[in-house]
Symmetry: C4
Subunit: 277 residues, 4 copies
Amino acid sequence: MQKSDLLDNKTLNWREKLHEVIYEADTSAGRLFDIALLFAILASIILVMLESVESFDNKHHNFLYVSEWVITIFFSIEYILRIISIKKPTKYIFSFYGIIDLLSTIPMYLTFFFVGTHSSLIALRALRLLRVFRILKVSRYIGESNQLIKALNASKAKIGVFLYFVLIICIILGSVMYFIEGAENGFTSIPRSIYWSIVTLTTVGYGDIAPQTALGQFIASITVIIGYAIIAIPTGIVSSEMTKKKVHLNTQSCPNCSYEGHKDDAEFCYHCGTKLN
Amino acid sequence: MQKSDLLDNKTLNWREKLHEVIYEADTSAGRLFDIALLFAILASIILVMLESVESFDNKHHNFLYVSEWVITIFFSIEYILRIISIKKPTKYIFSFYGIIDLLSTIPMYLTFFFVGTHSSLIALRALRLLRVFRILKVSRYIGESNQLIKALNASKAKIGVFLYFVLIICIILGSVMYFIEGAENGFTSIPRSIYWSIVTLTTVGYGDIAPQTALGQFIASITVIIGYAIIAIPTGIVSSEMTKKKVHLNTQSCPNCSYEGHKDDAEFCYHCGTKLN
Amino acid sequence: MQKSDLLDNKTLNWREKLHEVIYEADTSAGRLFDIALLFAILASIILVMLESVESFDNKHHNFLYVSEWVITIFFSIEYILRIISIKKPTKYIFSFYGIIDLLSTIPMYLTFFFVGTHSSLIALRALRLLRVFRILKVSRYIGESNQLIKALNASKAKIGVFLYFVLIICIILGSVMYFIEGAENGFTSIPRSIYWSIVTLTTVGYGDIAPQTALGQFIASITVIIGYAIIAIPTGIVSSEMTKKKVHLNTQSCPNCSYEGHKDDAEFCYHCGTKLN
Amino acid sequence: MQKSDLLDNKTLNWREKLHEVIYEADTSAGRLFDIALLFAILASIILVMLESVESFDNKHHNFLYVSEWVITIFFSIEYILRIISIKKPTKYIFSFYGIIDLLSTIPMYLTFFFVGTHSSLIALRALRLLRVFRILKVSRYIGESNQLIKALNASKAKIGVFLYFVLIICIILGSVMYFIEGAENGFTSIPRSIYWSIVTLTTVGYGDIAPQTALGQFIASITVIIGYAIIAIPTGIVSSEMTKKKVHLNTQSCPNCSYEGHKDDAEFCYHCGTKLN
């Protein structure tokens, strides 16, 4: 590419040049743009965090407010440039990253019209962290994560059923504990009891609500032991799913001896030596 | 079915029609009934929850009370219809879902005779959530869950032994901690100490009871490390169980001795030595 | 056996009869003895627990005290009978169960000489629960648990190394947190900080000690994420160990084609059909 | 070696003798040195811990202070001897253990110049525990741990991506909870909320911060269930990684194309079709 873009530089109109800088990273300008973007994203996240630390906000409120606007404008410009520099703007606007870019940029503007909304929407900025993947061009990692996603997709149904059962157990358990412990022990309502049973069964165990009665503690004990035993299930599902991936040989059978189970990169039958087609 | 039920419509007596609506979902009426049922179940669960939220109950007590009765009557009618519309009522009444339907319907009626019982039994309604499976006709999911159940059945004994050992450890540990920490540190009795040791070993750790003495904390540390190491066991059991499924041997049976479970690349029966075709 | 013991009954001297009743379960008397023993064990455990529940102890102290003695005497007699009824008493006395029987019987007697010791030793009774295995003749379960033990033995070294590293991490982490948080935030000493880091890394998290400073919370966050990632390791070890067991075919090779990897119950080579010897 | 060092004893100059004692363990002197070192290391760790226990420190401050110096001097001498006894000192000084030795020795000396620094650096001593590996010459264990490290390296990328996603989830979740719960419920800032969400998602759950609002508890419930489901992922990754090792293909290489990784029962090279012998 490097070479070609030296040749074509004259012929390229400004939009094509812009597209290359923003959407590609194989020109020095493109790389520079990506690095700038990377820092801008991290900066925007850190800003939101600092802003929420009262002691810090009080000291440097103005600095934070200004930087907020600087970053917002930077991302706004980037957003606009992305739209005008691409041939089919809609293709970008409705793409995954296009939506993220929009959502993570508008909050500041909303603060004009609706005071207070800003802070509660600002969290959307965290979504920008996903961009880091694309910027770092971590195709290898993406590959890895795709493999993860595949494994999860494959075991989606199983895990869904599992979680559904867990939920039913939690609802029943929560209701039961509500009537055993009652409001005086913190189980003030069934939803709250369900919250407790979920927190317990998943072995999180905050302790903000904990059974006080002997019977309640007995049931809790059984619950956690069940939880301890069934925590194995989703792990088992995913493990087996991922193990299968590792073990799985392709399904083509040898034209001569019709042997199956050849390695994915096999070119000859491991049994009779016939060329595989 | 659609077609046949257009033809037979005249010949079908009311009971057969009813059976088709209630027990099957391939007529528009049947589908409608299922959807109604689905909403009724969810409504009934949500009602119980809202009722337990005091603030809400105070505001809309009458509304909740009335809706309770509406739903209860709806399920009562459904229950009766199911009985009269089936050929062998006992077959339904003593079926898994038949019992659930009964248990989840009676509580309201009991409130007439025994005040207060209602609330404590109402939890049974959560059982109705299991119906959702049948209504959504999620045979695929059921299949998945069956696979889970199979894997769990296969490793039932192993997990049983494991949990039995865990329980013994917890009892011994609980007793020891009771004598080390004593009542002044919250370990007021051995059962309570066992409750603590279970909560600890399963890594739930509420913190409502926590060792205060140096020795107690030392033993607790060892305990949690043990728990951390052995949490691997049930997972290992289920994982291996589910992985085994993946590695499973082929299903062809020997033409001579009809033995099954040959290796995928077996050419001769491992039992009688007959050539496998 | 049933039959033979009808025949030999006369010829059997009292000791042989006794041995059969106590050590075997294939005579009605033997079965009866085992069931009695089973209940005695459970009773003794429940007694210890009830005793520790102050409210209950106050009410029924005498009853508990008497039953304690009844049970202790019962086990003492059993212990003596086991010794006199066996040919080589030492063989029983120094056997695993022989030691358990002794340890779980003496505490009550010690209360004569040393007041208070009783309660702290009584915990040893829980060991008797292991007897239940033998009484229930759960050879199948024993088999299962042996398999577990085998898997654990196989991965003993790995898990040992893993736990050693975890311990080092905990010690370093504990020391660091001690200097960051300091006594005012509950990290009163390094051992106590190590206790905290162990409780944290194993995801138990009582919350009796929790970081208060920003830096402390930052380190804690990293710690738990590490813990979250490495919790996979022991599981992975055991899973792979148990999976290996499942997959592993025996190592004998066919005398004819010297093929290996036959199923454990293979009688003929799956490749050439030769009889395996 | 034993024999040779009897022969060469005369010819060996003092430095070579020293090298043998310090760096090797096959002479009685070398073994003795190793054992002494082992105890010194454990002693130094225990000292640091005791020192931090105020009650103990007050009683035996002088004893602790003196022993500190004794140990420090012992390690200083060892460090110097290691340098002078080796041919290429730099090779040792910049080796992993060389750096550990230095870091774990200097703190005491620093206390001369900078008061207080000592205690905060003393934690570095824990690093010496790593030496135990080398002293115990646990090549077997090292082997095991290497296998662990290999498995972890193999799944490093996967786990990295996984942790990165977890982090993003935690940041988004933390921000959301900050705006839902607010400072009055302990979520005083976004970083602190993120700390909470990490502690929650990893199922540690201290409970020092816990959602109070209904909505907050609802989100927390969903969070922990997600955490419960995804805890399976790293385990799955490592399990499959380690299982893969077990299922590994044989190591024979093709005589023709020297390709490796043939199935154990392969008779022909899957790449070039040559008969494998």
